[in-house]
């Protein structure tokens, strides 16, 4: 039976693992390889690694780190951050990632989504859409590289991304990031219903019940979370955790 995925979203900064709140104040939470080893044992569905500084600092993806991650990953993972060429993608997939996540450069040059999908197939190309609510205009795509909102409607952008070859949408809410207040279910549902490709909801999960809501109410194909899987308790002590298969069966029916 097909099962919706539950995906830890791990943010990378200078090769360390960090966690943000509303895309700000990255806090160091540990070593990514150590986290991968723990998630291996917990038989995680998949991990999304996002380097939050690569594009800002105009850096290439951290290939040596990807190689290290891949050597320990016996589950699928996707990598995003600093990808700007077909050669970048080829190298990341060769090293052992299943998928790459395009964000900043796809916003700048949507044609790159098409180019990448033609070479690597749609199933390897995830388009990440950061969203932020705006008092006057409602939901808009947020340009996290430049740190400002765009005029783009995320639903329209997701439809365009699908049309030109994206295989999956990673929908990440800036307002919800790290807040434990639940997913932006309205946004998740809008985008999920508008496209025929899987949508991964991210941002705001404070409990496993939120994960269930993203799937059942938001109609997401997968639910991703950062804080929920790296912190424990109200003081946010670092503790890598993930539901057991029995728990997941109860969560997603």
């Amino acid at each position: 039976m097909f099962k919706n995925r539950i995906i830890p979203c791990l943010l990378l900064s200078n090769k360390g693992l960090v966690k943000t709140i509303k895309f700000k104040n990255p806090r160091y939470v540990g070593d990514p390889i150590n986290a991968v080893k723990i998630f291996n044992e917990k038989e995680v569905d998949e991990i999304a690694f996002l380097d939050i500084n690569a594009s800002k600092e105009q850096r290439k993806p951290a290939f040596d780190l990807i190689a290290d991650i891949a050597s320990e990953c016996f589950f699928p993972f996707c990598y995003g951050g600093g990808i700007r060429t077909i050669a970048d993608i080829r190298k990341i997939l060769f090293l052992g990632a299943e998928k790459v996540t395009l964000n900043s450069y796809a916003l700048e040059n949507p044609g790159f989504i098409k180019e990448a999908a033609e070479v690597f197939g749609s199933q390897s190309i995830v388009v990440s859409i950061d969203i932020k609510r705006n008092l006057f205009e409602g939901l808009r795509v947020y340009d996290s590289c430049r740190g400002k909102p765009t005029k783009l409607d995320p639903v329209e952008y997701a439809i365009l991304a699908e049309k030109i070859g994206a295989g999956e949408i990673f929908l990440n809410s800036v307002d919800k990031d790290g807040t434990y207040t639940g997913y932006d279910l309205e946004a998740v549902e809008k985008v999920s219903s508008a496209v025929n490709i899987p949508v991964i909801a991210c941002g705001g999960a404070g409990s496993l019940a939120d994960v269930t809501a993203a799937i059942n109410i938001g109609k997401a194909s997968a639910a991703a979370a950062g804080s929920l899987f790296v912190f424990h308790g109200k003081h946010r002590a670092v503790l890598i955790n993930y539901p057991s298969i029995e728990q997941i069966r109860e969560l997603i029916k």
Binding site: N4, R5, L95
Partner: protein, 209 residues
């Protein structure tokens, strides 16, 4: 089999490192290569693949690997396992592209096409799913009841001969998720990314097949 030279064919299509990693975990050293010489000397071949069908065929041609592969697989009958796109390339053609495939199995590759009442299913079929065994095979030796596998594909194989189907998976309908014709075995999911369940499949291929 111990001592057999395992070659993972490098044709620029995807996650070769992870297959070698997983084999390494169970103590087998595989060679990742695009050299005709390495492939000619292989005792067991793996054709992985993440990518599009035509791009895969173009790369195999560009590297001059088609003749050596035909010889190994059709004449020498050396075992070969295709994973994901690797499996699809074994077929005659694919709805994803215009080029002819390797044509080693009586099958074609088609896109997921759901009846309207199942049209809420997303494509690609992306995530974890189970398999139903249709025919006994060494590849599924020791398959656990809990076994689940990672899939990431928009196209799947349709066999002319139902007898070639080892296992099926349900996504909108039952499709062939593992097939075999003699020394040729193909798997639609990614054993290299399927935790201990996938490890078991790779172990079976190397040791028992």
């Amino acid at each position: 089999m111990v001592g057999t030279k395992i070659v993972i064919i490098d044709y620029g299509m995807g996650n070769l490192g992870s297959i070698a990693n997983m084999l390494g975990k169970i103590g087998y050293q595989a060679i990742i290569s695009s050299e005709v010489g390495d492939i000619a000397g292989a005792g067991k071949l793996i054709l992985p693949g993440v990518g599009s069908f035509d791009e895969g065929m173009i790369n195999l041609k560009k590297l001059g690997l088609i003749d050596v592969l035909n010889h190994k697989v059709k004449i020498e009958k050396v075992p070969i396992m295709g994973i994901c796109l690797g499996l699809q390339l074994f077929t005659r053609q694919s709805a994803e592209g215009t080029l002819a495939g390797l044509g080693w199995v009586q099958a074609s590759t088609v896109k997921f096409d759901f009846p309207p009442k199942r049209s809420n299913l997303k494509v690609p079929h992306m995530g974890w799913n189970t398999v139903a065994i249709r025919k006994p095979s060494l590849i599924f030796n020791g398959l656990e009841k809990e076994a689940r596998f990672y899939f990431a594909h928009s196209y799947h194989v349709r066999c002319d001969n139902q007898d070639d189907i080892l296992a099926t998976t349900d996504y909108g309908y039952e499709f062939a998720s593992a097939i075999q014709t003699g020394n040729i075995i193909g798997i639609q999911f990614h054993p290299e990314k399927s935790h201990k369940y996938g490890l078991n499949i790779l172990k079976n291929y190397v040791e028992a097949f």
